[in-house]
Symmetry: C2
Subunit: 228 residues, 2 copies
C-alpha cells in the first residue's frame, strides 16, 4: 500500500443487501421504494452508508436489523464483489459492498423498518431497479445457486422445522429445475449432518404426513449436490 500524497476527494462506501427468500413457489428479494432523488419511486435493494466506527460486516448486520428486524448473527450473510464504477451513483463517487442474506419465508417485511414500503418481489420480475442494483441482484442470485451446491445453506431458506419436500422445493425454486424426489431424499439422507429428524410430523390436507427435520451441524456438502 503506497502512501501517496494526493488530494482527497469525496468517496463514500455503502452496504447493500440482497435478502432472498422462497415465497409462493418463487425466489423473491426484499426491496424498498426510494423516497428521494435519484431514482425516486423506483425499487432498490435496502442499504446504507458505512459509518466510520464500524466494520463493513457490522454495517451489513445493522442494515439487516433495521430493514427486517432479523438478527444478522442468526442469518448467513455472504459478501459479494464490490461495485465501484465511477458513474454508478449520480450523487458522487460511491463504492458499494453488497451482501447476500438468506431468510426463511417471513410473514411479511417487518414494519418499523428504516425505509417504508419494503416488500418482497420475485427476482425475475424486479427489474428495473435503481442504480446498478439489477446487476447486484443477478450476482446475488447466481451466488445463492452456487452455494446450494456445496453448502447446507438451503436450510436457511426454511424455518426451524421443515420437511425434505420443503428443502427440495428450495433447490427447485432457486435452480429453476425439477429434481427427482427419490434421488433427492437419498442424497440428503446419506450426507452426514445435513438434516436430523425431530420425530415430529406435519399433517396436510391430503396424503401421508411428512416427517419433520431440523438443520444438522454440517455446513458443507461433500460430495456436492450437482446442478447440471
Amino acid at each position: 500500500m503506497t502512501s501517496r500524497a494526493r488530494k482527497h476527494e469525496d468517496l463514500r462506501v455503502t452496504v447493500d443487501l440482497a435478502i432472498l427468500t422462497v415465497r409462493e413457489e418463487r425466489l423473491q428479494v426484499l426491496l424498498v421504494e426510494r423516497g428521494n432523488e435519484p431514482y425516486q419511486g423506483r425499487l432498490a435493494l435496502p442499504g446504507g452508508f458505512l459509518r466510520v466506527d464500524e466494520d463493513v460486516a457490522e454495517a451489513a448486520e445493522r442494515e439487516l436489523k433495521e430493514e427486517t428486524g432479523l438478527d444478522g448473527r442468526s442469518l448467513p450473510l455472504e459478501q459479494l464483489p464490490v461495485f465501484g464504477a465511477p458513474g454508478r451513483d449520480p450523487r458522487g463517487r460511491v463504492v458499494t459492498v453488497p451482501y447476500l442474506a438468506i431468510a426463511p419465508d417471513l410473514p411479511v417485511p417487518v414494519a418499523g423498518s428504516d425505509a417504508s414500503g419494503a416488500r418482497w418481489e420475485p427476482v425475475d420480475a424486479a427489474a428495473p431497479l435503481a442504480f446498478d442494483h439489477d446487476d447486484i441482484l443477478g450476482v446475488a442470485v447466481e451466488r445463492a445457486r452456487v452455494m446450494l451446491e456445496r453448502t447446507t445453506i438451503a436450510t436457511a431458506f426454511c424455518g426451524t422445522e421443515f420437511t425434505i419436500g420443503d428443502l427440495r422445493h428450495v433447490y427447485e425454486v432457486v435452480w429453476q429445475r425439477p429434481l427427482d424426489p427419490r434421488n433427492f431424499n437419498r442424497k440428503v439422507g446419506q450426507t452426514e449432518g445435513f438434516v436430523e429428524p425431530t420425530g415430529g410430523k406435519r399433517a396436510q390436507e391430503t396424503g401421508r404426513p411428512a416427517a419433520l427435520y431440523r438443520r444438522g451441524r454440517a455446513t458443507t456438502l461433500y460430495p456436492p449436490m450437482l446442478r447440471e
Copy 2:
C-alpha cells in the same frame, strides 16, 4: 440506499494484490518491503489507493501493471471479500478491496516496479506481514484452492506451453497433496477443452520427453476436479 445527512469523515479505499505463482516447488506470493511507517521494513502485499475516476477493477489492473509489468487483461484477476475493520490501518479509516492474481513463474519481479524490493516469498513463510495482510493472503490462497476445483485457472500458473506433469504439479503444490499421475492424465484428457496438444515435446535430462499442451477454450470443469 438511504440518503442520510451526516458528517463525512475521511475514508479511503485501497486495492491490494495477492499475486500468486508456483516457483521452486512451492506456492509463492509477490511481496514488497514497506519504505514508510507504519510497518516500515515489513513485507506487505502490493497495492495502492483507488483514484476517483477509475473503477475498482481498473485500479487492480493498474497496480498489477505497476508492480509486475503484467497486463491485467491477460491474467485472471479475482476479487476477494473486502477488509474494512476500523482499526486495520493506523493512519485512518481504510477499506481495502483485495484481488487474487494468478501468474506463471516469472523470471523475477520486474524491475522498475512501483515499490522497490519486490520479491517472491513462499506463502507459508510470509507471516508476519504488515496490516492484516496475513489474513488477506490466507483468503487468497483458499480461494485459489477452490478455484482449481471448478475452473481451468490452473493453466494460468503455467506458461503458454506446458506438460501435463507441469499442470499436475500446480495442483499438488496449491493443494499440498500428491495426485496420481495416471488418474490426473485421464481426468484432464477427458475434460473437453481443458488443454490442447501443440504437437511439440519437451526434452529433459533423463527419461522420455513430455508432450506439450496449451490452454483450451474451456473455463469451467464439469465434473469438477475433486480435492478431498
